[in-house]
Each structure stands twice: as structure tokens, then as C-alpha cells.
Symmetry: C2
Subunit: 115 residues, 2 copies
């Protein structure tokens, strides 16, 4: 049986982690391509290595990013599970149908806009 450490404020770590724009960009980068190193991620941001490192630690502590060491490198991977749990907290089956339909309609209209 898998146990998640400190159920207590687990969700607080997740939401706090998502609150910073730099950290969301980091997740975007990992969404595009997994398994990046700190050096790699750092090069895409206007910030010192230390800042990026702090952000990655916060993402990792929140469980949004999972890492694996490979020699002197540390590889970073996106973990979508906490994101899904946010979704499920405030969107039940009923609301999900409504929202999906609404967003589909919105996408359709924007598609027409573009043509």
C-alpha cells in the first residue's frame, strides 16, 4: 500500500507551489518535454540558478515534479496526479459535463474566429 507523506498539508504545498508564475513555466517546460536537468531548465529563464533550484525544490516537495539522479545530473519529470486531484475537488460529474461543453463551444468559436 502506497502512503503519501504528510497528508496533513499536502494540498497546501501543491497550491502554494502553483501560485508562482516561474514555477508554472517550469511545469510548462516539463509538460513539453520530461527528464530535463536543472541546467537545461535554467537556460530558459531569466533568473539565477539558485532561484530556479529553489522553485524546483518547492515543486518537488509538492509532488508536482518527480526526480531521478543520473551521475552528477538530476532529471526532472512532471507528475500530473496532484493536478487531477485539484480538478476532482471542485468539479463533480454534473459540473464536468457543463464545463466540458462550455469549453468545447468556446474552442469552436475561437476556431471560427481564426478562419
Amino acid at each position: 500500500m502506497v502512503t503519501y507523506s504528510a497528508d496533513v498539508t499536502d494540498d497546501d504545498l501543491v497550491f502554494k507551489a502553483l501560485a508562482d508564475p516561474t514555477r508554472r513555466i517550469l511545469l510548462d517546460l516539463l509538460f513539453q518535454r520530461d527528464g530535463r536537468t536543472l541546467k537545461d531548465l535554467e537556460s530558459g529563464l531569466e533568473m539565477t540558478r539558485f532561484g530556479v533550484m529553489k522553485h524546483l525544490k518547492i515543486l518537488e516537495d509538492a509532488g508536482l515534479v518527480v526526480t531521478r539522479r543520473s551521475g552528477r545530473e538530476k532529471l526532472h519529470f512532471l507528475n500530473p496526479v496532484p493536478i487531477r486531484m485539484i480538478h476532482d475537488r471542485w468539479i463533480d460529474k454534473y459540473r464536468e459535463r457543463e464545463v466540458s461543453a462550455l469549453l468545447a463551444l468556446k474552442a469552436e468559436l475561437e476556431e471560427k474566429d481564426r478562419s
Copy 2:
């Protein structure tokens, strides 16, 4: 055509709004039952009316809560659309299948645990 202010993006307001535990409780309360007044929401929290009011304003500015006036009362409703957009930002069709399966399995195991 809608325009957004220069440095504060729409999604930043949403994530900042979700970063506070009190505001998440407010969303939980509205998830249970919509259309509540400030007085109603205030009674469930150990905080002055002013604190709750500030939090509700932040949620409203972020679009997570929509309101309607009725006489001297202001009714609050949960808007699930921004939550869904967070989900869609980092969970594509492929990951969604994986995550759903994983969470379903987890729920199943916890169900067995309880019996």
C-alpha cells in the same frame, strides 16, 4: 475582444487565489451549496467578516466565484471553469488516461481497506 492588464495575467489571479487555505475552504463551502451570503460563509470560519470579505473579493476577481446582488445581500456562486482550465494545461489526453486509471485504482484499494 477582451484585453487583459499588462503584468497580471488572468491565470495568475486564479492560482494566487487558490494559494490560500481559507479561500479553498470558501470554495469547498460553495461546492457543497451555492448562493450563500457573506454572513453565511463568515459563520463557518474563525475570522472576522473583513478577512472573509477580502478573500471573497480575491476569488471573485479571479473568476472562481461569481456573485449576484439581491437587495442588501450578495449571493456567491462557484464557477468551475478556471479549475478545468488548470487541468487542461498540464494534463493531455494521454496523461489523463494514466492518471484516471491510477486514481481509480487508489480509490478501489482504499475501499477495500475500509471493509
